[in-house]
């Protein structure tokens, strides 16, 4: 009797161990398959972005407070670090009001639309290059730390991020409120105008690196150095247009609290309002990630050659950390700008885009094309960039009008009649 029992036990232990091995193998196989890895990565990125957005809002409140010699939220948890949780809870518990005369379907749809659109942009961001698991064979295809590696990565981001204006327009229009509507049309006009210089900047970068894949753009920069050295003004203009696309100060005419109450989200409350905020901040993160990939070397650090060439999982983690740190710096810059510069007037906004940024970036694209055609050194475009900027300043002085059109007051002779 006893012998049989012991034998059974041994058998059980053995099979349990074998099942565990099998499970481990299965997990390894799944992790080594790009499809499943992408799904896991997508979930991780989704969660990470949500957390980052919550803390970005806290950071924004802190920075705004510090620049104004205040403390900012400091009651919930030490230094207020639990504030995002309190905020989130509050958004959930608030009464969700749907006003009587709104277009109900669109009113409910708009915040979800803008939220989803703001999130899917992350799919093509190369967070940390490629790597191999320790258990993978040397010949196996390396894993890519990117949810989807598609040929038209950059176009995809541009297309998706410009879709977010639909959410704004729908929200403003469905609200059946004049202020919301004004906010929505302003947002639409602004996005249309700033899409043009943005496209031009991207075009210059695409011509230079010869690819629409963000990961290849980063690789190009690993070989030639950060693209911002060759196109400083294009990088700058891209940053300006990114501010405009995300409806951030100094381009937040769609919200402009002093004139339009809350702009397009005046009528929204509770969770739907929270979605608009989430979308705005996710948009900031996407656009900074895009800018970093194109102009600021992605996950590269100058002088750290090993970072780009080591194919291990640990190195990939370091690359992701570097990337996240760069995004953090960009977000801080966004916020600092918000609390420094006043808002543009609408005509100034349009004039800046059409009379300032568009001609400048067009020149840059032409110069980049010429450099490629003639086979000149890439540094030529640096000179062209600086030249274009100085020329712009010179023209505005000679023409007597700033690009954003500050009105000259009547001179003494004119005033006296």
């Amino acid at each position: 009797m006893g012998g049989i029992q012991v034998g059974n036990l041994c058998h059980n232990v053995g099979s349990a161990a074998r099942t565990m091995m099998d499970t481990m193998d299965a997990i390894r196989n799944i992790l080594a398959d790009q499809f499943w890895f992408s799904i896991v990565l997508g979930l991780v990125v989704f969660g990470g972005i949500q957390g980052a957005v919550a803390y970005a809002i806290l950071l924004e409140r802190k920075i705004s407070a510090w620049t104004q010699d205040r403390y900012g939220p400091n009651r919930v948890g030490p230094y207020g670090i639990l504030q995002p949780i309190a905020d989130g809870l509050k958004f959930f518990l608030k009464e969700d009001i749907i006003p009587a005369n709104v277009d109900k379907a669109l009113f409910i749809f708009a915040p979800w639309m803008i939220f989803v659109v703001a999130l899917v942009g992350f799919a093509v961001i190369p967070w940390g290059g490629s790597f191999k698991w320790g258990w993978m064979e040397a010949t196996a295809k390396p894993m890519v730390v990117q949810v989807a590696s598609v040929d038209i990565g950059l176009l995809y981001i541009v297309a998706v991020s410009s879709l977010s204006v639909y959410g704004v327009v729908l929200g403003g229009w469905a609200s059946n409120n004049k202020y919301s509507f004004y906010g929505a049309i302003r947002a639409a006009a602004q996005m249309l105008s700033y899409e043009v210089p943005m496209g031009m900047c991207l075009m210059a970068a695409i011509l230079m690196t010869g690819s629409l894949r963000l990961e290849e753009m980063v690789d190009w920069q690993a070989r030639h150095g950060w693209a911002v050295m060759y196109h400083p003004i294009a990088a700058l203009v891209l940053f300006i247009t990114a501010l405009a696309e995300a409806n951030r100060m100094p381009f937040d005419l769609a919200e402009s609290e002093q004139e339009l109450i809350g702009g397009y989200h005046t009528e929204y409350s509770a969770l739907k309002l929270a979605l608009f905020f989430l979308a705005e901040y996710s948009h900031m993160i996407t656009s900074s990630a895009m800018m970093i990939c194109i102009f600021f070397g992605g996950y590269l650090v100058p002088g750290w050659e090993w970072l780009n060439t080591t194919p291990t999982f640990g190195a990939a983690l370091v690359r992701v950390a570097v990337f996240a740190f760069k995004i953090f710096l960009f977000i801080c810059l966004y916020m600092l700008i918000r609390w420094t510069i006043p808002r543009f007037r609408f005509d100034q906004l349009m004039r800046l885009a059409w009379k300032g940024l568009v001609p400048m970036t067009m020149t840059l694209v032409a110069a980049q094309g010429l450099v490629l055609y003639m086979g000149w050194s890439q540094w030529t475009t640096t000179a062209v960039n600086i030249g274009v900027f100085l020329f712009g300043g010179f023209v505005s002085v000679a023409g007597g009008k700033a690009v954003t059109g500050r009105q000259l007051s009547l001179r003494r002779a004119e005033a006296m009649g």
Binding site: W66, D69, R70, Y71, L236, L336, I337, W339, I341
Partner: protein, 183 residues
Amino acid sequence: MTAKPDWKQTDIIHVDQPELSMTERMYLPQIFGGMKTTLRHMFKKKLRDETVVQYPEQKRQLRKEIYRGVHRLNRDDQGRVACVACFMCETACPAHCIHIEGAESPWPDREKYPIKFDIDELRCIYCGMCEEACPVDAIELTPEYHLVGGSREEMIFDKEKLLNIFDRTKDEKPRKNPNITGY
């Protein structure tokens, strides 16, 4: 003959807006200048510690003489309500939040006194017009600003409550004028 104006043409000074310089027209140098200021403030922890008042723990130093907080109804030196129910404050109040009912006074030195005196502290905008209007300085605003209540009804302060506030605050802010009687 029209009267000559008492100003001369030469007194007028036309001020032209200053022309923008090249750096101003190119924005960037100016923006960086602005960001330098913001950054400087961001890292001024000492200034922050000096200026910020952490409210429930620390309290602001008020100028008690002029601070316009919750109202009180003053008592005269015999402990009676000083108000003579003249309705001046009710008339002056821009928020229409004072409601008075007058009655014949039981005292020989005045004709009327209020039997009811309600102030809706939620509607009040603390402008101090009532204090200005009162001919006997019976209603005054005090430096008390901790106003809490669990319901709207609780925030309608009646005569008793307002007189109580006087008892509480009379040491902190003595009644401005001595009692005026003989009405």
